[in-house]
């Protein structure tokens, strides 16, 4: 499998990353390199090996259901670009 320039642009768009033509060509080469590695790995016989969902062989620790976080809105909003009536303001998203 190899990625086209259009694939790279589409991935960039989904990730909301602006990529110019020169950069896209660079990413295309790098990403295709990664796909090459994956292809090589797929040659390994994995019969009987359970798929792994995490690199560490541990299980998730659980937290007791309790409210432990105080309201820190003021501190958080002090570094936000724009707020009003307690809301974070962002460029309009509805079309």
């Amino acid at each position: 499998m190899s990625l086209s320039i259009d694939d790279v642009q589409r991935i960039a768009k989904l990730a909301r990353i602006r990529v110019n033509e020169a950069e896209a060509a660079g990413y295309q080469t790098q990403l295709n390199g990664i796909f090459g590695l994956i292809e090589a790995m797929q040659a390994v016989d994995t019969t009987g090996v359970e798929p792994m969902s995490h690199a560490q062989d541990l299980s998730q620790r659980l937290r007791a259901d309790a409210v432990t976080e105080p309201d820190r809105r003021q501190a958080f909003q002090a570094v936000a670009p724009q707020t009003e009536d307690g809301l974070y303001l962002v460029p309009k998203v509805i079309e």
Binding site: Q60, R61, L62, R63, A64, F76, Q82, P91, K92, I94
Partner: protein
């Protein structure tokens, strides 16, 4: 052409935890914007999610209640999409290994019973809220809801009409509130329904192309939206068009569904296991402990009411429409002697006069004015013959309007049924003396004349004489 409707539902139930699924912020409804959004919920760099045990426990409870398989190892995944009320840029959900797989729920439509299969139920976090009105062309973001624990319950496409879809949604609503994992408050968005709807010619095996109606927050809207959508799809196809897969919204004001403007990449979520969260393991001891804490479930109660009390499927279904209803019914029974025989009487009063009064006052059974013990007191007076059916209704009305115990009401209003032969006999003598013609007719074999005489005696007693006793004494006198 005859068309068949195919419906599957996806229901988002908000879980009844205190705190969020991955942080210790509160999920209480109605707080001022962003006062319940901590560093994890607003996705500050470097924060890590820590899974709430209470959310996992509720998912286990649900899985056990629908007879599902619980995945002893289940995995959280990232569902990637861009929207400002999702500050991480992805929603933590479950994809390939959800916590609950399979299971089923029985529904009743008219006299027919049907089993709806459940595909899966997975844990995920809710997003925040976007407010589009009047912020100088900007959008306001409230992240209080971000990170609220949800269990998304996905059914198989097993429903064939809007009525069946509503019956399933109601049965699911009853179950999740019954086992206490969701408060069921649809106005506050605690129980939100998405309906996948398609049509196909009757007899065709393959499904038609489906459209998904999003975010229905009442059973009435669910039914209206599906009915409209089905008519629309059939018309489109009959006019020679093809149905395009789409997400649509229902407008309650017009009763119509309308396609949302779809972005080309909207459904490319690029799921992958979340490296911030390890696989969740459920151990047997925990599952057993949750199982032991489950209450008797609606389906089990229905079976018991039918077998042990001889109630009809309809009665058993109505009495288990909510846990509060079933508990009330059982409390009334417990307060009456010889429980088995009283079940039908109690069921009739609860489903009849009491439900009518509750409906009229727009009250839920949980806000019922008549405590179970008081209703039992009234029923006991019917059983021991103190009250006729007619008098009992008067006592009930007084009890509903003014409160008080049945005995006190009977006493105060003089509603006691007269079962004293010494009091009834003089009335009978009077009636017989005044109606020689009826007596004559009865003696010549006319049974109708007897009923007329009973009626006269009842009238003379102002409705208070025990009808059975009047019958008996009258026959004795005439015989």
């Amino acid at each position: 052409m005859q068309w068949e409707t195919v419906i599957g539902l996806e229901v988002h139930t908000q879980l009844t935890t205190q705190s969020k699924i991955f942080s210790g912020a509160s999920i209480a409804f109605g707080a001022a914007p962003n006062t319940q959004a901590c560093q994890v919920d607003i996705a500050l760099p470097g924060v890590l999610p820590v899974l709430n045990k209470g959310a996992v426990e509720r998912a286990i409870r649900f899985g056990l209640a629908i007879g599902a398989k619980l995945n002893r190892t289940n995995v959280f995944a990232r569902k990637n999409y861009f929207y400002p009320d999702l500050p991480k840029g992805y929603q933590i959900s479950q994809y390939e290994l959800p916590i609950v797989e399979g299971g089923h729920l029985s529904i009743q439509v008219g006299d027919a019973e049907k089993t709806i299969r459940i595909t899966r139920a997975h844990l995920e976090e809710d997003a925040g809220k976007s407010l589009h009105e009047d912020f100088h062309g900007m959008t306001g973001i409230d992240l209080n809801r971000a990170g609220t624990p949800l269990l998304e319950i996905v059914s198989e496409p097993d429903m064939r009409s809007a009525k069946e879809a509503v019956a399933y949604a109601r049965a699911l609503h009853t179950l999740v509130t019954w086992i206490g994992i969701c408060d069921g408050n649809m106005q506050e968005g605690s129980f939100r329904v998405d309906a996948n709807v398609s049509v196909r010619p009757v007899g065709q095996k393959e499904f038609g192309t489906r459209r998904e109606i999003k975010n229905l927050n009442s059973f009435r809207f669910l039914e209206q939206a599906i009915d409209y959508e089905v008519r629309w799809q059939i018309e489109r196809i009959e006019d020679g068009h093809k149905i395009q897969q789409a997400t649509v919204l229902f407008n309650p004001d017009t009763g119509e569904t309308r396609a949302m403007r779809s972005k080309e990449d909207a459904h490319d979520y690029r799921y992958f296991p979340d490296p911030d969260l390890l696989p969740v393991k459920l151990d047997e001891a925990w599952i057993e402990q949750v199982k032991a804490g489950l209450p008797e479930l609606p389906e089990q109660k229905q079976a018991r009411y039918r077998e042990r009390f001889g109630l009809s499927a309809y009665d058993a279904g109505t009495l288990t429409a909510s846990r509060a209803m079933a508990e009330y019914f059982e409390a009334v029974l417990a307060a009456l002697p010889a429980r088995g025989e009283n079940a039908k009487l109690a069921a009739n009063w609860i489903m009849g006069d009491l439900s009518a009064a509750l409906n009229k006052a727009e009250l839920d059974i949980a806000a019922n004015r008549i405590p179970a013990k008081q209703l039992a007191g009234l029923l006991a007076r019917i059983q021991d013959g103190t009250l006729s059916g007619k008098l009992a209704k008067q006592v009930f009305e007084a009890m509903w309007n003014e409160g008080g115990e049945a005995d006190a009401i009977i006493e105060a209003k003089g509603l006691k049924q007269v079962s004293d032969a010494g009091a009834i006999e003089p009335l009978i003598d009077e009636v017989l003396a005044a109606n020689p013609k009826s007596v004559e007719e009865f003696r010549s074999g006319k049974e109708k004349a007897f009923n007329a005489l009973v009626g006269q005696v009842m009238k003379a007693s102002k409705g208070k004489a025990n009808p059975a006793q009047v019958n008996e004494l009258l026959r004795k006198k005439l015989g």
